[in-house]
Each structure stands twice: as C-alpha cells, then as structure tokens.
Subunit: 213 residues, 2 copies
Amino acid sequence: MNPMTAARSPLSPTDRPQLGLRERKKIKTREGIRAATYALIKEQGYDATTIEQIAERAEVSPSTVFRYFPTKEDIVLTDEYDPLMLEELRNRPAGESWLDSVRHVMHLAIEANNREDPEVARMRAHLSVQVPAVRSRMVESMSATGRLLREAIAERHGLDPDSIEVRVYAMSFIGGLMEASMYWAENDFEGELSDLVDRALDVLEHGLPTENT
Amino acid sequence: MNPMTAARSPLSPTDRPQLGLRERKKIKTREGIRAATYALIKEQGYDATTIEQIAERAEVSPSTVFRYFPTKEDIVLTDEYDPLMLEELRNRPAGESWLDSVRHVMHLAIEANNREDPEVARMRAHLSVQVPAVRSRMVESMSATGRLLREAIAERHGLDPDSIEVRVYAMSFIGGLMEASMYWAENDFEGELSDLVDRALDVLEHGLPTENT
DNA sequence: TATATTTTGAGAGCTACTCTCATTTCATGG
DNA sequence: CCATGAAATGAGAGTAGCTCTCAAAATATA
C-alpha cells in the first residue's frame, strides 16, 4: 500500500518494473476489489457484505470479482509472503539454532505485514477470529506455508520432509504462529504480536513455564 | 454402530436407556442420513453427492437433513468424544507425566473410534485429506477440543487456561493428532494410527530425532 | 489501420443453506 | 380410547456463493 517504505524493506512484495497497460490495470482492479471489500466489511461486517456489493463499489462485474479471487475469503486474506520467508530462512547463518532462525523470520514477516498496512493486518486477524470461513481459509493457507517449511527443516536437519516427524515439527510452528495471532486479536491487539510469537516459540522450545526441565 | 461391543468399551457414546418412540425415531433418522451419505459418497464422491440425493436415499426431506446437521460436512464428521476424553484425562493418576496421559487418552480415542466402525473412521480421514471443506470443518472441531484441553492442562499445571502458553501447548497436541491422522490417510492407512500418534508426541516431547538434546 | 489476444460483462444455472407455515406424528391426561 | 398440546416433518420460496458460456470491449502486435 505504501510503495515508498515497502520498496526498501525485506519481505515485501517485489516492486513492479515496467509493465504494460494491461498488467497495470489488472493490479489496479485487484487492489480496487480489495479496497472495496475492506471498506464494506468495515461498514457492514463480513457476512452482510455480498459479492454484488463489492463488485458495485469496485466498479466491476461480479464475474470479474471471481476471476480475481477464487472465494470471498481470499479477497480478505491473500498475500504471498511465503516464498520470501523461505528464502530468508535458508539464508540464515548455519550456526544459528533452528528456533532462532524461525523466530527471526517470523519477526520479519510480522514487521513487513504490519508496515504495509497495519489496519488491514488487524482486520485480517480480527476476521480470522470472528468469521469461521475466513479462519479456515487462513488455516489452509498456513498449512501450505507449513509444507514449504518442511522442506527447509528437512534440508537443515537432513531428514525426510515427508516424514511425520518433520510434519509435526513444522506444524507446531505454524500452529504457534496462528495461536499468537488469534490471541492478539482476541485481546484487542494490545501488546506487540512479536512478543506473543516469542512466547509461543518459547513454549515449543521449553515446554510450559512451570516445567523446569 | 455395534452396540454389543460399544457398550462395554471406554470412551464410547453413552448407551440409551429407555427412550420414547420419538427419541428413538430421531436417532434412527439421524443414523439413516449418515448411512445414506456414506453410501453415496462411496459411490460418487463427496462433491457429486448433493443434499437432495442424501435426503432421497434416507427417505426424508432436504429440510430434515439440515435440521439434523448444520452443514454437509457435519454429516460426515460429527461425533462427540470430547467430554469423554476430558474426563478420562482428569482421571489419570496424579504421578503420570502429562505427555503419557495425553498419549494414553489419544490411544483410547483412536481405539474407540476405530472399533465403532473402522471403515467410517478411514473414510473420515480420507475425506479430511481430499476435501478442503471437510478438512476445515475437522480443524474447527479439533480446535474446540483444544479449548477443552486447555482447561485440563491449566488445571494440572496451575496455569491460566487462556494464557498464550497454554493455548500453544494444547494446540501442539491437537496439531500433532491431526498430522498423524492425515499422514495415515495420505499413506493409504498402512500401519497403525496409534503408532503415528506416538511418533508425533515424541517429536513434541523431544524435538526432532537428530537433535539429541 | 487491421488483426489477434486478453479481459470483461451479462446472464443462466447449480447447490448449500435459511425461513416460514401448514400438516403430520407422537406424548399425555382424562 | 380419545382429545389436546407439543414436537417433528415436508413443501416451497428465497439468498448468496460460485461456475460456465458466449459475445462485446479493450489492449497488444504488425
């Protein structure tokens, strides 16, 4: 949303070089649909907002909305940090502990996501808590991220990325991230999301606070 | 499905004592809808099976189907072991380690679920892998179980059930269970699900196999 | 400017799901 | 056994998300 800052920050969507009119229009349409959706949801709530209304406000036809986004939930959620996160993960110093690498990358992702548009970031988290359909779409998307994570983990530890061990390990990180995000939204976004993620990762690393082993 | 064996096993739905004709009919209808659904899905697949077809085969009206099950996915999934699992968890000996308690209860749940109708158990796992809508409904239902788990954990460790630590901890178990189940289905149900759950729990307890710390 | 390619809009169609209301089915007291 | 009240059912209309098709409009290319 803010190309000035986004351009220099890590983990932000790639800048668009020289694009034809066609491509530029597509991006504009896409962002128009998103903007219309956010505005309408803010006004009326998620369920009360129909695709027809979104299309109307974005000045496109309903067909076009579905051409740009497979489902209504995707309009709210889609954003692809995954490949960037993965690369960042691979580029971490070899000596660094795995948990620290993950911690680092998650912090980066949160920061990037937040800088791009803090209000939207909160709305997403909020809807993930409130609207089951949105939440489940988010879980799906996180699972996809998890599948990528597996490969990074397997690579680093010399394990089979499809083994159940690696799967469970990867999923625990994704789950921790999700819980952190939902906890944040449920508690009115007080405090920093990064701190919550840290606490989540601590639990995965050391178990519950009272278990001093 | 099999009252003879189900009656004596732990973690099985409560037997129904003396019920009026009305209640008995309701149970029959409910099971009829389920049976019709399973049969149709087996024949045509999940997506190709419509509520109308289900209603027709179960000899009820479509309205009735929705009266018994809020969504199509719920016809396939719903089954309430949660309260029983919770009680079982609370009744574990005080000295037993938390991980062992969870392991024990999960084994019981798997066993019960499997004894009731192995084929249905597999179909569920299979659909959770294949059909996004079913999977996401299952995730939701598991999250609900997770919320119950939190209380048991908090009770045992003297922590706040709503703290992020307990949430993450509970979620890691649920996630492990889900991964095990999906892994099982994805690998054609070879081996025992309980063994997979054990491996999942081992990862949560000790980290990945190569990390010998 | 002419032609090929993409993108869009219009509209029909499907299905999950909701709501309402009249009808049927069961429960209960006399 | 019957009358009355309550609950379950069926029929039908309606909504919204989503898919598909096809012709028109916009853009690229020569």
